[in-house]
Subunit: 266 residues, 2 copies
Amino acid sequence: MDSSVKKDRPVILVTNDDGITAPGLHALVDAVKDLGEIIVVAPDSPQSGMGHAITINQPLRLDKVEVYGTHLWYQCSGTPVDCVKIAIDKILHRKPDLCVSGVNHGSNSSINVIYSGTMSAAMEGAIEGIPSVGFSLLDYALDADFSASKVVARTVAKNILASGLPSGSLLNVNIPKLQLSELKGMKVCRQAMAKWREEFDERMDPNKRKYYWLTGKFINHDKGEDTDEWALANGYVSVVPVQYDFTAHHAIPFLNTMSYELEKLD
Amino acid sequence: MDSSVKKDRPVILVTNDDGITAPGLHALVDAVKDLGEIIVVAPDSPQSGMGHAITINQPLRLDKVEVYGTHLWYQCSGTPVDCVKIAIDKILHRKPDLCVSGVNHGSNSSINVIYSGTMSAAMEGAIEGIPSVGFSLLDYALDADFSASKVVARTVAKNILASGLPSGSLLNVNIPKLQLSELKGMKVCRQAMAKWREEFDERMDPNKRKYYWLTGKFINHDKGEDTDEWALANGYVSVVPVQYDFTAHHAIPFLNTMSYELEKLD
């Protein structure tokens, strides 16, 4: 472990996917700074939408950053998942006691959990056996107001440090764009069955070749009142436990009825 | 839809993460070519380890490829997930009847499902409501022998076209590095609880700056005989149903015991 990290307090790894200069990351550090020893390892550039990508075809850079004054800050040239992996192997040489990711500028509710670098960093922490949580604010603005998010992040982090999390799970916490006084509270939810309907924006470049921007409309088909989308639309912070066992156990009996005889190709 | 696609046969979208020139992709096309109308939309460069990444900070290119003769082939500058999204929105203008991804050069069993571009492409298909499956051969070699994989892929594709898949699920099919005659059969399994222990390889560049290559050891902690790792180690093709509802439903009761009172920061 970096020798300036004290060992008698919880070690808290902080990361994100918007990059080391994102205000949401600095808000998260501020929210948890007196709960333990803080080590920040964040991407050196924005990594939104990276999902659970890892960097295997090129090497990574890892550099200490001094300009933020307090705590230990590192920037990494890789993805959010790379940041968690390299933090454990090359900086901490042990598992931290808590891994917090975010605060993301923009929602990671419902199906967005699978596209989200913020949540993938937290999932990587959980796979490593670290109590882990990702925080996202429903506001994409660079100058978003993180004051309520900081209270939420601190509350959840204290809870987890005190009580841990059920085996094999991490938390996906999304925060409505509201003042603290307007929040109705926090609600444990399931992931809503929602999706994006893609509408690629087709344009012509100066050389008359087509190019496409990914855009889309978010569509929530799920009318349940136990979902994260319902909670967020009704003024609650949503807390969804997430797992990295992706097995669709409910599908196994049906699949066992199929015939799997392997016939030679002609 | 591209006007050369006939509408009276199943439309099969084929993609991968190793890129449009990978032998595994061409083997997969060969395996399913007479089961329907084939449209290939694959990355124009290798995208291994991209997980569920999407491209949001730069535009995409999409070009028809003529050199492979038969079928419709397109290459896309984005990730495997981008390929599925743009195929539906800009080429097919409808959902295909089946989405097959692979055959990946290398395993995507157990925890590798979450890092895999091959499986993320199939998962994107499933989110869109398309019966979807990813195939992977336990051989990283570029000149791997895909003859048994082709029989497996054809068998599974025929099964799915005939019977569909349970709602909310897709298949993760891994194939041992064996001849067809050596395969013991196919086995429906759950995802093994296994993980990677990272060991970054630290090197010095010519300018005396450190850089790191991601490496690691695969560790299977799971002794269950109902897992994909067990099946593969014992000569079976593993078939794991995968879901994109990541909710850890088992964790909800515990989380509901926590206190979530939001205290103002000082």
